[in-house]
């Protein structure tokens, strides 16, 4: 039995410790927002947060994630209101949408580490995420917009 904390919920799973976290999340736990695109760390469709870091769950053995804090796209925000999610909707980023969970999860770590990224920083942080539909120009734009939204929210008095 391996204990996993996904989006603040604890799961006990009886799987091969070598099984990639991706398939545990999708097939065993049943959260399908995290996607399979390549299985070899090339496309970023499977990005989740492991203790706040962006990791490619397709090449992360489930044993490595045991007892750690995992966040998937379903846990990025409670009400689809993360600044990135708002910006994505405002700028109408997705086309087919399949890559977008991974894009958002990578972008979330970028924004946390660099609240005001320029284009070069965005390109560097997001180059691991493929989008076959070619939504890259909008991803760039929406990350800038999310940075603004994040800053505005930060300024609000509590």
């Amino acid at each position: 039995m391996i204990r996993l904390t996904v989006n603040q919920k604890t799961h006990k799973v009886d799987v091969d410790p070598d099984m990639p976290l991706l398939w545990v999340i999708r097939d065993i736990i049943g959260l399908t927002g995290t996607k399979y695109g390549c299985g070899v760390a090339q496309c970023g469709a499977c990005v989740v947060h492991l203790n706040g870091e962006a990791v490619r769950s397709c090449v992360t053995k489930v044993s490595r994630a045991a007892n750690q804090k995992i966040v998937t796209i379903e846990g990025l925000s409670l009400h689809n209101d993360h600044p990135l999610q708002q910006a994505w909707a405002e700028i109408d980023v997705p086309q087919c949408g399949y890559c977008q969970s991974g894009q958002l999860m990578s972008a979330a770590v970028l924004l946390k580490e660099n609240p005001q990224p320029d284009d070069a920083a965005i390109d560097a942080a997001m180059s691991g995420n493929l989008c076959r539909c070619g939504t890259y120009p909008r991803i760039r734009k929406a990350i800038h917009r999310a940075a603004e939204l994040q800053q505005e929210a930060g300024k609000k008095p509590f």
Binding site: D16, L31, G33, C38, G39, T72, C96, S101, C133, G134
Partner: protein, 716 residues
């Protein structure tokens, strides 16, 4: 076609009370334009429940192109409801919704633009009449807005939901009055798409995400040598993997290509993959293991000497003698590429007695459940009425999901077990197995008169045949129209044109890839036009316009492009600008590309400007999104490694060697939309063909290097 009376759709919709299906279906055959209307019957596009809930069916699978909004928008506009007031459901190939439930050919909006508005308008007229008769007033004194009918004079109103029962008894008008474009509230406005929120929180369900009770997972080992098939296999080691349940042979059928692989079925997908690695399989490679792309292509080059079949013959090209110094000739080559939708191919199939149930991401629900000669039932030997489809959001299509091979394979597995099976292709499977976009080689020749006018133009395409591969409408004595797509149909006024086709046999399955053959032949033809311009000593834009004296859509696009791209603005030394345009079945787009030749030899793409001609536009922002995406996809096909075979096997495997453009390679893209009435044109594909030639032409302008072969280097 069956005629279904609307009465049969008045039914009890559970707790919602009486529900009313409204809608006029006026589509003709798939792929045909719909006027004049040939068949009309009543069918359910709109469901209004007495509680007020309004559901609109989207009959064009949402593959990323925006139909989940654009299609309901056409209906909602005329029905006088806002999109926030309706529930949108993807259709599942239901017979009543007709045979045009498919996403292909950039056809969704352009073929439905007035028909689906009629669906909404006829429903609205019935609802207005129902209200008028309730009040005992003339329908002409009432109007609809916001899902409510109002009586103009008294201000009385009734919500649509409360009109359901009365409306159900009224015949739908066959020729409803459509709104004037200036009154549109939805069409023509950039609106947020309702699927976007679902695609930002993981809740959009794609085929690969579906879970069915009792379902198991399968991965299929297919012969790595394309064309090979199964001889025998030993599954004993595979069956020892924890979670592996069984291993079965399975046939996949794609057009004329039939091959058997080995399916490993397990409790979870990971176990199936592990089991697959342990299979010991002996293949019958039938001599295809000697196949080399290099040799095949050398053969294509030699075939240029064949006359081929004449496609179009305009004027009298043989009667003209062109001085040798006035002739320009060139040979262009384009490669095979893979589709690579981000969502790998997948399908859940369940077979119970003679019933088949499917859950999958497909571009063609109508061909899954239909009774046509090329539909699924023929391939699996099951009556069409016994096939039930659950269609989902589609994680990219690009043409790959127009085909049924992966569904056939899933059904063939499910036939051998008594539980539902979800088959998922690995990325390696999609890279290595095809079908691929076919390569086209082009011989071009242009001839100038003594006065310097372009008077002759020849384009001969040498390539495998799409029709032959997919086994549809193939006749070796006829030109495969798909392979010469658009080459004789450009607006340029050249008095003598001959286009021809030389077919090369090929055992590798080929397919339509976003913008089909226009994605390759346009490269050859539009680069060659650039060569002719330089030969004529003219600026490439002026040269094109000099061939367009009469008004045409292409002329309009080029004139707009000239202006919005700042074509006449001088560029610094080392920079260059290229232009290309292409009109084909899907639509029309022109583009300019600006590049800079950097001191280290690299070519930097500074800017792409696109002008897309649509006639009518539903959601401008979505059109821009589509065109940006088409350009980026075209960039990949222009400069990234192609699909090649060595010893019969594809040499690439996954995204580490079959590269796709990444965000860091994305140029600045500026999209302009022309929607000035006239023929309604498509959105999804037209942005693709002009990009590669415009880029190559820009590189020539900047460096003097002419690229006549794709993929080419962004390094000179």
């Amino acid at each position: 076609m069956t005629t279904i009376t609307r009465r049969s759709f008045l039914k009890n919709a559970g707790g919602a009370g009486v529900a009313l299906w409204l809608g006029l279906y006026v589509h003709g055959e798939v792929g045909k334009t719909t006027s004049p209307v040939t068949a009309a019957h009543f069918t359910p596009w709109i469901l209004i429940e007495s509680g007020g809930k309004i559901t609109i069916y989207n009959t064009k699978p949402e593959i990323g192109q925006g139909t989940f909004q654009a299609i309901p928008a056409l209906i909602a506009e005329e029905l006088e409801v806002s999109l926030d007031q309706v529930t949108i459901l993807n259709s599942n190939g239901e017979k009543e919704l007709g045979t045009a439930q498919r996403a292909g050919g950039s056809a969704s909006v352009r073929t439905s633009f007035s028909d689906l508005r009629k669906v909404g308008a006829s429903a609205k007229e019935v609802l207005i009449q129902a209200a008028a008769s309730t009040w005992g007033v003339d329908a002409a004194t009432c109007y609809a807005e916001n899902a409510t009918v109002y009586h103009r004079a008294s201000g009385k109103s009734i919500a649509y939901g409360d009109l359901v029962e009365t409306a159900a008894k009224i015949e739908l008008p066959k020729t409803p009055v459509l709104k004037d474009g200036k009154d549109f509230k939805i069409i023509g406005k950039s609106m947020r798409r309702p699927d976007v929120p679902l695609k930002t929180n993981g809740s959009a369900v794609f085929g690969i995400d579906v879970k069915v009770d009792g379902m198991r997972y399968a991965s299929v080992e297919r012969c790595p040598v394309i064309g090979g098939t199964l001889k025998q296999f030993d599954a004993s080691a595979a069956l020892k993997i924890k979670g592996v349940v069984t291993v079965v042979p399975v046939e996949r059928v794609y057009g004329i290509h039939r091959n058997t692989g080995v399916a490993v079925i397990a409790d979870n997908y990971w176990a199936a993959l592990q089991g697959r690695k342990k299979l010991r399989v002996e293949w019958d490679t039938k001599g295809f293991e000697h196949f080399q792309s290099d040799e095949y292509e050398a053969g294509l080059r030699l075939m240029v000497s064949q006359e081929g079949l004449t496609d179009k013959n305009k004027g009298d090209i043989d009667a003209l003698t062109i001085a040798p110094e006035n002739l320009v000739e060139a040979f262009y080559e384009t490669p095979m590429v893979a589709h690579h939708p981000m969502e790998p191919l997948n399908c859940i199939a369940q077979v119970k007695d003679d019933q088949v149930e499917l859950w999958t991401s497909t571009q063609v629900p109508s061909n899954v459940t239909g009774s046509g000669p090329n539909d699924l039932h023929k391939l699996i030997g099951v009556a069409p009425e016994n096939i039930k489809l659950h269609a989902t959001f589609v994680g990219g299509g690009f043409g790959r999901r127009l085909y049924l091979d992966f569904i056939v394979e899933a059904v063939n597995i499910a036939k051998q077990v008594n539980y539902p099976v979800k088959v998922i292709w690995t990325r390696e499977d999609t890279t290595e197995q095809g079908p691929f976009r076919p390569m086209t080689f082009s011989q071009l020749q242009g001839g100038f008169s003594a006065e310097g006018k372009l008077v002759t133009f020849r384009h001969k395409v040498i390539s495998p045949s799409y029709a032959e591969s997919v086994g549809r409408n193939f006749d070796p004595n006829k030109v495969d129209g798909t392979m010469v797509e658009g080459i004789a149909e450009q607006a340029y006024e050249i008095p003598n044109i001959r286009t021809a086709y030389v077919r090369a046999g090929y055992h590798v399955p080929v397919a339509a890839w976003r913008s089909v053959t226009s994605s390759t032949v346009a490269f050859a033809q539009e680069c060659f036009l650039d060569e002719l311009a330089w030969k004529a000593g003219m600026d490439p834009m002026s040269f094109r316009l000099s061939l367009l004296s009469a008004p045409s859509d292409t002329k309009r696009v080029l004139l707009t492009l000239k202006e919005v791209s700042g074509w006449d603005r001088p560029l610094p030394k080392g920079s260059g600008r290229g232009v290309a345009t292409w009109e084909f079945f899907a639509g029309l787009c022109g583009q300019t590309v600006e590049v800079t030749h950097l001191s280290d030899g690299r070519i930097r793409i500074d800017k792409v400007v696109a002008v897309i001609d649509l006639g009518e536009v539903v959601n401008p922002d979505n059109v821009r999104n589509q065109t940006e995406g088409a350009i980026i996809m075209a960039l990949g096909a222009a400069v990234k490694p192609d699909i090649r075979l060595k010893h019969g096997k594809v040499t690439h495997h996954n995204f580490y060697d079959n590269l796709l453009p990444r965000i860091s390679e994305t140029p600045l893209i500026d999209v302009h939309i022309l929607a000035e009435g006239g023929k309604v044109k498509g959105v999804g594909e037209p942005g693709l063909p002009p990009f590669a030639p415009a880029l190559a032409n820009a590189i020539f302008a900047a460096t003097g290097k002419r690229n006549r072969k794709m993929p080419f280097d962004l390094h000179v």
